[in-house]
């Protein structure tokens, strides 16, 4: 890859990580990129850096535009180490006049790198700095998705440098949204929202509201991961609005893990019932479905029908994993039901139901339990309950 001019005198100088596959539990089968941006004006400004291992690539790309030592300011929009890992070494090389960050950003940088000798300049929402013919305005976006997070806006360019917001984990040689398949791009953006931002939906709503009422004009959104939005800015903002409002389709997920296929037989019977009601169904066997893909499907599904066999008086380990991950991401406004086969106690099903209730799912009926192997009647009960859930999904639309 090479540095790319994204607007006049504004360059992408980041790094592509083709081979990374896991982001602490979020699967990224298509790799990712760590985007950094360089603005050449009377002051030369770098926005964010890259993962530590990619310092050389960052320096190479910066060097294609200016000598790294010419950088005056480094803006740290987000402290997470995939964006700040290269910062300590870069600061040693560049010796910038200012390291610009939020108050929470300074605290986080100190806690990461223990360097109180850096030339911090703390900014807050509403602050701006002049860099010559351009101004940089700062918007703190606390908890989108860390306390330190902020975005930088250059009004003269209508450019929003949005750190992790609007990002996607997708390694490509293309830099812009209109150079790749839009369906794939929106899927990657959806997966990112579902696995990183879902729990901060209220904060996303607040931010979108503030941006709307401020009348800020944006014709390019440059995130810290993936493709830059220039032709589909409206689409991604609309999608963030829909996702953060928990808008759902007439869609249900059947998620399960099974020991000897009994819980699986029940899952398929539930799917039959849901389908018979005309609801779109996704069946996710946790032994082959990654938790991050399940979350992506869950984002716009109205109902989650969740099954587990009982093992050692509890749920199967993959079910515990999924439920813990799901709970942390705080899905809202969902309909739920629990089911499963068991041998003697049936605690696994109770555990699933209790977790869904804790997540404030609107539960349809009592958990549906079957001893050992379901009979034809048992499966008919599953299909019947599937229909009932399907009806509830349709009524919610």
């Amino acid at each position: 890859m090479t540095s790319t001019e994204i607007k006049n005198d504004i360059f992408w100088v980041g790094a592509i990580d083709w081979n990374v596959r896991d982001f602490h539990g979020y699967s990224i089968p298509s790799g990712t990129s760590y985007n950094a941006y360089l603005v050449k004006d009377q002051k030369t400004v770098l926005f964010d850096t890259v993962k530590k291992e990619f310092l050389d690539t960052l320096l190479l790309h910066i060097g294609q535009v200016v000598e790294p030592e010419k950088i005056d300011y480094i803006v740290v929009n987000h402290v997470e180490m995939d964006h700040s890992g290269a910062l300590p070494m870069l600061i040693d090389i560049v010796k910038p006049e200012k390291v610009i960050c939020s108050a929470m950003g300074k605290r986080a940088l100190l806690a990461h790198y223990h360097r109180d000798d850096w030339p911090y300049e703390v900014v807050a929402t509403g602050d701006s700095i002049d860099i010559g013919s351009r101004t940089i305005k700062f918007i703190e976006t606390r908890m989108l998705h860390w306390p330190d997070s902020m975005m930088s806006y250059i009004p003269q360019e209508r450019l929003l440098i949005s750190q992790d917001g609007f990002g996607q984990h997708w390694a490509t040689s293309e830099r812009f949204d209109d150079e790749v398949d839009l369906g794939e791009l929106m899927y990657q953006a959806k997966k990112y929202f579902a696995n990183i931002l879902m729990l901060y939906s209220n904060t996303v709503q607040k931010l979108l509201g503030e941006v709307r009422s401020s009348g800020v004009e944006i014709d390019m959104i440059a995130p810290d991961h993936g493709l830059i939005w220039r032709s589909h800015v409206g689409d991604i903002v609309q999608s963030y609005d829909d996702w953060s409002l928990h808008k759902c389709k007439a869609k249900a997920l059947v998620v399960y893990d099974t020991m000897w296929h009994s819980t699986e037989m029940m899952a398929m019977a539930f799917a039959e019932g849901l389908e018979a009601e005309g609801v779109s169904v996704k069946v996710c066997d946790l032994s082959v479905s990654h938790r991050a893909d399940v979350m992506t499907e869950l984002l716009d599904a109205k109902a989650v029908v969740f099954g587990s066999s009982t093992i050692n008086n509890s749920v199967l380990p993959r079910v515990a994993d999924m439920l813990a991950y799901m709970k942390g991401l705080r899905p809202a406004g969902k309909i739920g039901a629990a089911f499963g086969s068991y041998g003697w106690g049936g605690e696994g099903v109770k555990y699933v139901a209790a977790m869904l209730e804790e997540m404030k799912f609107e539960m349809i009926d009592e958990p549906l339990k079957v001893v050992y192997v379901p009979t034809a009647d048992d499966l008919a009960r599953c299909t019947e309950l599937g229909r009932k859930i399907g009806q509830a999904v349709k009524e919610s639309q």
């Binding site: 108050a103 908890m143 306390p147 729990l199 209220n202």
Partner: protein, 53 residues
């Protein structure tokens, strides 16, 4: 009434405003905010708050 700030994310709990979205009515002093309440911004518990102006 005394305000409290979340030391994790900077959210300020103002008793006059409360947190009605999460069941805490306006006018609820800090000591009456349920122990199960969490910061509406970042999700940490009451033990992560300290007094602020």
């Amino acid at each position: 009434m005394q305000k409290y700030v979340c030391i994790v994310c900077g959210y300020v709990y103002n008793p006059e405003v409360g947190d009605p979205d999460n069941g805490v009515q306006p006018g609820t002093p800090w000591q009456d905010v349920p122990e199960t309440w969490v910061c509406p911004l970042c999700g940490v518990g009451k033990d992560q708050f300290e007094e602020t102006d």
